[in-house]
Symmetry: C2
Subunit: 192 residues, 2 copies
């Protein structure tokens, strides 16, 4: 199982956004939709052993966490609107502190990073970390930030986490997930 | 300069599609929009030394080729709709056999793969190729297919091209571009 969690600092936390304007009304929900895509999609297949957590921290009622479970998700297409519509559906239902399923493989609960860190041992993926290719082993849970840097409060929470980098350039979160998957795929399949 | 060309086998060749339905009315234009994104975007920056060619082969008047030039493109955001709107704008103008600019850095002409292959020496990126990590040097121009395999006619055109693979899993074209960029970035920056 590989776990990705992405913080959406201004991502809307109710369903009151338009899937025709994910960047604007969604609070850069487009970034998170692309992370769902790169976390879960293979060509003509899904990565069934992946969970992708979106930590939504925007207005009006954040934080909330939406979970996409590769093992059970259905009706997900690679385009941004498809993931956006499923996120909207999840945010439209009332939720409490435990995950509630909004659609097959898509669940939502109240709470954000602090809670999630009690459940997974995350390594942070950012440009300051150690090169993933140089590590003998890699962990199974990775935390990324969206288009904004981690906040001071988040940095305090993750200060003891291992940090890894996927390369010399500063990449979008979704691209970083793609490169990390490639590194894990190679190791799992015996490619050097 | 790095060049990517992606064949959109059913991608619409006039502007008569909706950016609210890139997969359907656009003939899987969403795939090509994501390839524009991964070809050109760095975090808070653009890859100015990249050209991305979309070879559109769908109805009603294909093939046409749309070129995104990283050196001069403006007004491009990472979301699919942004690239989709620029492609639509390019397909809305009359064009001939030479590139005509539809917006800064976005040009369009009639013609497809055969013409483009007289201008660039492409290597093919697909799952049958040699592992890019094992190659001492890599070329600068790469050809990919969208969600469909290369057609018989295309296979005949590319039969003498070098073929490379980025890893053991069969990936979407946009993900493949991301991994290839990472390999080139590492070589250009002295990372192993």
């Amino acid at each position: 199982m590989t776990v990705f969690a992405i913080i959406g600092h201004i991502a809307r936390t109710d369903g009151n956004f338009s899937i025709n304007d994910l960047p604007g009304t969604g609070g850069r929900m487009d970034v998170l939709c692309r992370c769902v895509n790169t976390s879960l999609f293979l060509s003509h297949d899904l990565r069934r052993d992946v969970e992708c957590y979106l930590i939504l921290c925007g207005e009006p009622s954040g934080p909330k966490t939406v979970r996409f479970s590769g093992s059970s998700v259905r009706s997900l297409s690679p385009d941004e609107r498809s993931a956006g519509a499923l996120i909207k559906k999840a945010l439209d239902i009332p939720c409490g502190s435990e995950f509630r399923e909004a659609a097959p493989g898509i669940s939502v609960r109240k709470g954000g990073l602090e809670r999630l860190m009690t459940e997974h041992v995350f390594a942070v993926l950012d440009e300051t970390g150690k090169d993933v290719r140089g590590e003998a082993t890699l962990p199974g849970a990775f935390l990324l930030s969206d288009h904004q840097n981690f906040s001071e409060q988040e940095e305090a929470l993750i200060k003891d986490c291992a940090r890894y980098s996927v390369g010399p350039k500063c990449l979008h979160a979704d691209h970083t997930i793609t490169v990390l998957h490639n590194e894990l795929d190679r190791r799992n399949c015996g490619w050097k």
